[in-house]
């Protein structure tokens, strides 16, 4: 009866909690860029064009003479409307640049998620059920190696083995050494291109998920209600897949969501290694070019994705856990 209002309350609270965080991020990001040593004019105008008149005009146009809070306010109000300004180096709107790069990064994240869902979760469950047996030790070692190997190096090794060595040995490369083909052009080619970076990105993510799944399942299997189920004569397979897994799913979903940051971290280096035109690579280029509005925009975007992902996780959480739904 009160369930619904409790859930709405929970939802409102979660949404409202995200707002101060995003505001904080915007202030931080704004200040980070403003306090960067060096005059932004140097990045915008080529040396030969820095005449006093030009400089004054650019300053005027960007509002650089205004007090900081005025600059922040105008930047924020534009940002809220989706206008993140213009890239210094490329001259294109930042929003548009970001939008054009989301899709390729999302493809990598999707492959990584598949790896986590279809390999990591089952292996974590099996590990927990057969705790301290050979199967468990084996999959734990794999998971440990998975979280310990740097993604960029793993990417390079995959290229080395499956593209370069393969070509030396068999005369053709199993995968391309990098690059991007959109799935709309050719699905098969896309698969060839996306497989290696997607799996590279997925390894760490999956390893974390597997470890989390195992430890949660171990905890859940020690709960008293599992003993209750056994005392009822429920089959062990049902106990694991229904009684225990339903409970374990709650923290697993949380981890899948919170580790979205892990995917962003990985995408920076993996996209660099595989020359994949995603957000991570865009950020790297922006940093190299000292393209401040673009860096600002990307940070804000990434934070927004993080906040939204957390929100989705919380909703799923509430859906899975009746203690939240009906409270």
């Amino acid at each position: 009866m009160t369930g619904n209002s409790g859930f709405v309350n929970y939802l409102v609270k979660r949404v409202l909690l995200g707002i101060p965080v995003l505001l904080g991020v915007s202030i931080g990001v704004f200040l980070l860029i403003k306090l960067t040593p060096g005059d932004p004019i140097n990045a915008i105008l080529p040396t030969q064009a820095r005449t006093p008149a030009n400089v004054a005009q650019v300053r005027q146009r960007l509002g650089l003479g205004e007090p900081l809070y005025v600059q922040y306010w105008s930047w924020l109000s534009n940002a809220v409307q989706g206008d993140l300004g213009y890239s210094y180096n490329r001259g294109e709107p930042v929003t548009q640049l970001i939008l054009s790069r989301i899709w390729p990064t999302a493809q990598l994240a999707f492959i990584a998620l598949l790896v986590a869902l279809f390999i990591a979760i089952p292996s974590g469950v099996i590990s927990a059920v057969y705790k301290d047996t050979f199967v468990d030790h084996f999959s734990r070692i794999i998971a440990f190696v998975g979280i310990s190997v740097p993604a960029f190096w793993l990417g390079i090794m995959i290229i080395l083995v499956f593209a370069l060595f393969w070509k030396q040995l068999f005369g053709f490369a199993l995968i391309p050494a990098g690059g991007y083909v959109p799935p709309s052009d050719s699905l098969i080619e896309w698969l060839q291109y996306v497989a290696a970076p997607g799996v590279t990105l997925g390894v760490g993510y999956a390893a974390l998920t597997a470890r989390m799944t195992r430890s949660t399942m171990v905890d859940v299997l020690n709960e008293e209600y599992i003993q209750t189920a056994r005392s009822k004569g429920v089959k062990e397979s049902v106990i694991v897949s229904i009684h225990a897994f339903r409970n374990a799913l709650i923290p697993i979903v949380t981890v899948l969501g919170i580790q979205i940051g892990f995917l962003f971290n990985g995408s920076v280096v993996v996209e660099q290694v595989f020359q994949w035109p995603g957000i991570g690579r865009l950020l790297y280029q922006a940093v190299i070019d000292k393209d401040l509005p673009l860096i600002q925009g990307i940070l804000l975007f990434v934070a927004a994705v993080f906040v939204v992902a957390n929100l989705v996780v919380d909703l799923l959480y509430a859906y899975l856990d009746p203690r939240i739904k009906y409270n």
């Binding site: 009866m1 209002s5 309350n9 409102v12 609270k13 409202l16």
Partner: protein, 448 residues
Amino acid sequence: MTDEPILKVDDLQKHFYENQGLLTRLRPDQEVKTVRAVDGVDLTIQEGETLGLVGESGCGKSTLARSVLRLTEPTDGSIRYRETDVTEFSDRELRSFRSEAQMVFQDPFSSLNPRYTVRETVVEPMKVHGIGESSEDRDQRARELIERVGLDSEHLDRYPHEFSGGQRQRISIARALAVEPQVIVADEPVSALDVSVQMQILNLLNELQEEMGLTMLFISHNLSIVRQICDRVAVMYLGEIVERAETATLFEDPKHPYSEVLVSSIPIPDPTVERDNITLEGDVPTPIDPPSGCRFHPRCPKVIPPDDWAHDQELWRRILRLKASLESGEVNLDAIRSKLESQTESPVSEEDVKEDVLEEYVIRANVEGADRVQIPPEVADDLARALSAVFSDDDPVEILDRSYSSICESTVPSESDVSDHRSVNCHLHDEELKRDQQLSTVVTADEH
């Protein structure tokens, strides 16, 4: 009652607030819930006596104890220690009060810092209050204390995990005594211990109290333990004291129906005795939004019927329960209807549903094997009328209230003194008093 009490608690209240967050307050459909953990409690403790405070979990006895020591800030009321008001103490005064009043905690596995040796645990309070001239002196005192509570001074450099529950509780007592206090508040000090060691600790407390002239507030849910150690007892129910009496008196002649239930539920270690313990119905209610009138009335086996009630007590209680179930919305007519429909596989009428409700809530009282009661026709009519109201969206409770309401629901019983050190908050007792008065007036009239 000539002596001034050492501790006097007046109208003490401690309320907690749920849903107090800013965001909740922004939403119109969410109200801040008040948990009335302690709701207007008066207590007096004389120097050197042990007062027992008894009640079930959630009745507020631990909160009361913590409020008395200001380990939690009381919401309202006053606590007088000798001539001073504890609630008004400044930080400095509070600190010096801490050397006068100490607490012994319930859980011996959580009340000792696992990283402190026994020595550190016992010496720390002395250092805080500047007791002992040097660290050697404090060491010496620690040794004496630890031996006094029945441990070996060799144990001083051990850590809590090396001790059993009973030994830990001894250490906890030694810590409390380190500041040479006047008052000890013991919060369920033996309930986490095995029966075979409970008496060891109780005896220790008893001895120490006599030796040092301690005053003690002893909290427990276990009446038989209270009996071993307390001079007087206060019985607490849902944030209020319902009865106060000297220990022996309370056990022999409990006045409040709740005390009666508690006394009757003490297990008798004798299988040959067929006990007539009074079983209380229902759960312990929460202190959020407590029942109106006498807080015990929904569970009270002696809840007072209206003056014109001609039937038995059991039926009366069940009608009250039906009323409460209707009021809380617990009676779900749709669910009952769909249950009946699936049983008979045909549509059911309003009458059938009403019958089922009566059968379940009144006749059988929900329990298989419970005694069935007969509903006299006039009562049945009234109930049927009230239940019809549910279908026409009227308030059934209001209809029932007209002829089936109790003073216990409507009026908060006041405290009445029975004799010295003895008082009870119950309408039943008021009535008894009234009857006695009438009797005595009759008698006096006769004499004249």
